[in-house]
Symmetry: C2
Subunit: 242 residues, 2 copies
Amino acid sequence: MPLTPRTSDLKATGLIGTLRCCQLFSGLSAEDLAVIAGFIVVQKLAKDEYLFHEGDPSRGCYLVQSGAVNVHRVSAAGKEQVIHVFRSGESFAEAALASPTGYPANARAVEASTVLVIPKAPILELIGRRPDLAMRMLGSMSGHLRVLVGMLDDLTLKDVETRLLNWLVKHAPAGPTGKIHLAGTKRVLAAELGTSSETLSRTLGRLRDQHLITVSGKIITVHNLPAIQSLLRRNLGEHENP
Amino acid sequence: MPLTPRTSDLKATGLIGTLRCCQLFSGLSAEDLAVIAGFIVVQKLAKDEYLFHEGDPSRGCYLVQSGAVNVHRVSAAGKEQVIHVFRSGESFAEAALASPTGYPANARAVEASTVLVIPKAPILELIGRRPDLAMRMLGSMSGHLRVLVGMLDDLTLKDVETRLLNWLVKHAPAGPTGKIHLAGTKRVLAAELGTSSETLSRTLGRLRDQHLITVSGKIITVHNLPAIQSLLRRNLGEHENP
DNA sequence: GGCCAGCCTTGACCCACGTCAAGTTCCGGG
DNA sequence: CCCGGAACTTGACGTGGGTCAAGGCTGGCC
């Protein structure tokens, strides 16, 4: 169609760029990427808007283009357990493609975000024709399994201080000292660590008293990364039998 | 080869029966099943023998033919967190097929068991040629993801009593009263529920005092399933806002 | 500038659960 | 039949961390 050729070209170019960058599709042929770009739906989410709820029938899977999406469950008691926060370039809900039941969790935008919706039917059809794409899906789900397994030991084998230290080490920029800018409120971080804001506050306080970090508003300054890493290692091993 | 034709026929027949019964392969053509049976390796495990350890390079994935296999992680402190106990007909470690890294957990036989080892290379090759098999693998991994997500709320959103009630409901035979025969020792059940044997003992005791169950050796008799279900529901909802 | 509303912090309190320790019961072997 | 050990039970105790409640702090808004 000669109508709006530039617009759709631009759209396709931007999409294909995003697709090429994400782990799920990188390495596919330009032709396949174009096919995928053809049936993708772009969806914008406001902060705190839900992408789907637990039990919703599945539309397909998702790829974060910008922003961040919090995938979580809520208990009968109304408490929210964060499973993972997916950021730009990451894909999620692949599991929903292969299973007839609805989504097993909820997804909500942490901030204003853009996600690419990959509809179920056409991607399944393409997977059927492209074995290497099937492999990638398997690989991606296997990665998610590992993340969940990691969460399991986080939740069962470590206390809050250890989880926080681990989070700090993962998020601190390189170099002995560095600043971490909190994306959301501290309550959100507490939820991500599976604790309450009060306990997080106390734990941060304890690290501050040991001069390992300073906290000011949404900025956490790491003063002594090696000391933090060694404290983390000590915590992980402290109950060891001699 | 004319040698031992009956033996290998018998082996193949038994294998194909097992394959046909398991969720992963049921519905595949007899021809494909024969191919799979051709490269499967049968492995017997003594009680407490390890099938693989965390970090081992992956041989392939597994199908339990008889017995039970405990997949778990161990923390730096030496504590063991059970991820799942797989029993006859269930498959696991599919994730290892698609990812170049080693196994992310350990697997050990709870009792004397027989597992079918499905080697990596030939099954991957077959998946490449049989899109519906790829779908099944995706479905199976999606199921494992759901199990893990379920474990997550078990561990974070419920106390031990609630987890035990949930376990009882899942394992009790139909009808208002029924007997559950414990497969392993009570310490094993405690580990499966993510607690210590002492706490399990106390919790069972409390339920006994309420005349909901009786415990005698390895037999748990459920006297009042509806009451247990209603107690479970009450526990799940007790912190609800009105 | 003053005010209100969220956040964050701190203290007090409580409870579930893990751990240690001291019995019991139940086997399997000599 | 007795003994030793494993599994189980029960009690006592400590503690991490969740919850409630009461301030400080900050920032938007009139």
